[in-house]
Symmetry: C2
Subunit: 352 residues, 2 copies
């Protein structure tokens, strides 16, 4: 058997994988147009004649055709997927942003590929690597702190990148967020304006949650510049929970017996502190004023209602979506800013 005949045999015996699902070709045949026209119709319906369009639409529904985005992604060298990496989806802040972002992107036919890094840079890098394997239309990261490898990967890929929930450094590409030190400063200023002088910042997991940590330093700095008699930053190594808030308040009272104002890195912690005050019979805000962060679900309704700083995860989600859609639509107008400050709002309620 010579090479040629073996080739022939190869050709004939080769069994192709089945896959009898409906393809664009089937639609084209039924609609009596070429596959290109079907593809064109699917991507820009306006570009095909109404007659052909109708015929194609009919064929699609008759066959129950579902386009294969994997094939499309390969052919177009870019898939209709946006990869989002957050530290934790359990965190209400990020859940809110992801939720909004997902809705906005879905409206434009983009899917969301989700990953969570658990606040680890190495994990994040691994996630970015797999994310890039999907040739995503864009990548969304949380914060500005990333490993060198992550930056390199993303830069090399040429994919639009949006970093969210933090401002103040140099983004890889685009950024949407706000300044965390300023949040801390706002909280401190507010407490000082209420005549509080013995302050504490209660945070959790600040060794990993770099943004919470910068809120703390913003707070400390302003407390120092103002005439805060004393101020402390107290960290709980575990997650930011209500229970942690109670523990943190206890620790704060040990350190600053005459404590009269606290800022918390998260409303859950603030709620825990509120509960602990109630347990100890400490009047809020008379004895201790409490400022939170996040304006979570319960913050307006708890007792006393919680003064807090709202970062607006919703708005961040919406702006991220806008930037992404902008970059995908090709024209990245150099005029529009690639860094969007969504600011923060202090909402004064009964706890201060």
């Amino acid at each position: 058997m010579d090479a040629d005949s073996s080739r022939l045999q190869t050709r004939s015996t080769r069994k192709r994988r089945k896959m009898q699902r409906v393809t664009m070709m089937d639609v084209a045949k039924l609609a009596q147009v070429s596959p290109s026209t079907v593809s064109l119709y699917l991507r820009k319906p306006a570009a095909v004649s109404p007659a052909a369009g109708q015929e194609i639409a009919r064929a699609i529904s008759a066959l129950g055709y579902v386009p294969n985005l994997v094939a499309g992604g390969l052919a177009a060298a870019s898939s209709k997927v946006v990869s989002i990496i957050v530290p934790s989806i359990r965190n209400a802040f990020f859940a809110e942003t992801v939720s909004t972002l997902q809705s906005e992107l879905a409206a434009e036919g983009l899917q969301v590929l989700l990953g969570h890094s658990e606040y680890g840079e190495d994990q994040e890098e691994a996630l970015v690597r797999t994310a890039l394997s999907w040739a995503p239309a864009a990548v969304v990261l949380t914060g500005l702190a990333h490993s060198a490898g992550t930056r390199k990967l993303l830069r090399a890929s040429g994919v639009p990148v949006v970093e969210m929930w933090e401002l103040g450094g140099t983004p890889i590409d685009m950024a949407v967020g706000f300044s965390h030190p300023q949040v801390g400063a706002s909280a401190a200023r507010h407490l000082l304006s209420k005549g509080r002088r013995a302050l504490a910042f209660l945070g959790a997991r600040m060794q990993e949650d770099h943004r919470a940590e910068t809120r703390a330093s913003g707070f400390a700095e302003t407390a120092r510049l103002g005439d805060g008699l004393s101020h402390e930053i107290i960290n709980h190594p575990g997650a930011a929970t209500v229970e942690a808030g109670a523990l943190l308040l206890t620790r704060a009272l040990e350190r600053i017996p005459n404590l009269d104002g606290i800022a918390c890195s998260n409303d859950l912690i603030a709620l825990g502190a509120l509960f602990e005050c109630q347990r100890r019979g400490i009047a809020v805000p008379d004895a201790i004023a409490v400022v939170g962060f996040g304006d979570l679900d319960f913050s307006a309704s708890c007792i006393p209602s919680l003064t807090t700083i709202r970062p607006s995860g919703d708005l961040i989600g919406r702006e991220v979506a806008r930037l992404i859609l902008g970059s995908i639509q090709g024209d990245r107008p150099e005029g529009t800013s690639r860094i969007i400050d969504t600011g923060h709002v202090l909402i004064e309620r009964r706890s201060t």
Copy 2:
């Protein structure tokens, strides 16, 4: 110019899209093996000789090769993606499940494609349709109630499907969850056992949240069978929030003046009710006993700590992952159950 020459011209003038990214071919060349071997190495490293494997690994890191999963997915007719559709990612229950699921799947090299249906069956169907465009390795849905179209699409696709967070009907393929009527019944039984006789179930968005609604009917049924003197189901049309809980308690007191026990479809609602009691000077549990659902973050730490029913979103996530990995590994052992009951636990605390 005849057809043939034009064909030739076509061939020569055709400009191919650039894409100079590193491909498997580049790796193969550098490692002096064929692309097939590289592919094999990437999929089952044990199948290639150690020598070749090392050479390939070296080449991969030298070139910074990132596999293209889109191409892989197309060739293999199934991508390494699991599509998860939940009603809302803002809901702490689902956030927990998704988070766990994502971690478990990521450990096996699977990505998560996320969608949220906002409790709409039509929206869900649209999400399933796009999800299937990705030829996912599996699809995860929430609950057992889906449109006929959704079922048809999924059945036709042959993709493994897991429905989670609900049991009691016929799943499309596999299911992990628990019985919601039983949860309601447990709550009612608990209140009855505490001598409460004038009961109410407080729920939100029950016209859409079918599972909350079945918890309510389970509650009502048990309350009726027991010697509950009166029981009511009260619904808030908006989302399940702390504020809604306060409103609902107010409504319940109007309807049942001698109210002495409530079950809530969600711990956020329970917390709101707790706050409203505090505002009104109603002692909990002396005057009114409160049972929640969800065992959220704050439930153990609030005042009084909340008796609640834990559905274990974590466990659900883990079991879903197990089922998915099982189906992907090919052998669907008919022995193992395709329906897993994760049950629920009533955690008694100070509010009852």
